[in-house]
């Protein structure tokens, strides 16, 4: 017989977990042949951005406003959890011809 308060606590925990997973999404952005696709993506605070570098050379996802700088070695995936809202232009420090925009909503 499980005490009632434990059941209540478990139910509450499950509800919290559910609401977190319902809110936070993972958004994939691909870097291939020196192009960032999609070049314009939207996300919310708490979401995770997954940059997939499919090229043979390293890239970076570097915010022009200095908020973040993610290193992406060849054939790897780099992640970032978004913490601040705003429209952020970002580029690759090694290949500045690679440019994209991330719209982060509150």
């Amino acid at each position: 017989m499980t005490p009632r308060w434990i059941l209540a606590a478990l139910t509450a925990l499950a509800l919290v977990a559910q609401s977190i997973s319902a809110q936070a999404a993972t958004i994939q952005i691909t870097m291939e042949n020196l192009a960032i696709l999609p070049a314009e993506a939207s996300a919310k605070i708490g979401d995770t951005i997954e940059w997939i570098n499919k090229d043979i050379v390293a890239h970076t996802a570097t915010a022009r406003n200095g908020d973040w700088d993610v290193m992406l070695p060849p054939n790897t995936t780099g992640t970032l959890v978004l913490k601040k809202a705003g429209t952020v232009d970002y580029y690759c420090r090694f290949h500045p011809n690679m440019k994209a925009v991330l719209k982060i909503e509150p």
Partner: protein, 174 residues
């Protein structure tokens, strides 16, 4: 003075292309592979010289990027020619490229400090411009194997990135 020399270097490369085109001598895939590979080797050597000489953080980071990227592209090129059973073939264009690069290396070797940094980065801008131009107008259109063409196209985008990166470093040195 420097600008005149750089323009001469670019003119030499374009002359090469137009001379080859005038003769109707479209480079073959083995020749194209050799030219592209040689172009990479040249930039790696220049970067290694810079890594030995520079004390500028940005120039050093740029040179490290050049070594890493050009080694990656050249490794891919070697893997491809092996797979295609193509033997890269020495030719006038790659010989001239190597000769000019050796002269440049000797010239830069005499410079020091900020003068070296500026000359190295300016030459990187001019060199990538010339190589990108050769890839765009001559090597890519002449390549017949689709996989080779593909690799050259990826190489072009990478080197265009280097060209812009070099321009940014050059601007920061002013």
């Amino acid at each position: 003075m420097m600008f005149v020399r750089l323009s001469a270097a670019i003119a030499a490369v374009s002359l090469l292309s137009s001379a080859a085109l005038a003769q109707g001598a479209k480079p073959t895939d083995p020749q194209i592979a050799h030219i592209a590979y040689t172009a990479g080797v040249i930039d790696i050597k220049a970067a290694k010289q810079a890594l030995n000489k520079t004390r500028n953080k940005e120039v050093k980071a740029f040179a490290q990027d050049m070594v890493r990227d050009h080694e990656a592209v050249n490794k891919q090129a070697l893997d491809l020619v092996k797979k295609l059973k193509v033997k890269p073939e020495d030719n006038d264009t790659s010989r001239t490229l190597s000769k000019n690069a050796a002269d440049k290396l000797a010239e830069l070797g005499k410079l020091k400090g900020a003068a070296f940094d500026k000359a190295y980065v300016d030459n990187e801008v001019a060199y990538h411009k010339a190589v990108d131009n050769a890839l765009e107008t001559q090597l890519i259109p002449s390549a017949s194997n689709p996989e080779l063409k593909n690799l050259l196209q990826t190489g072009l985008k990478i080197f265009q990135g280097h060209e812009q990166h070099a321009e940014q470093v050059a601007a920061s040195l002013k």
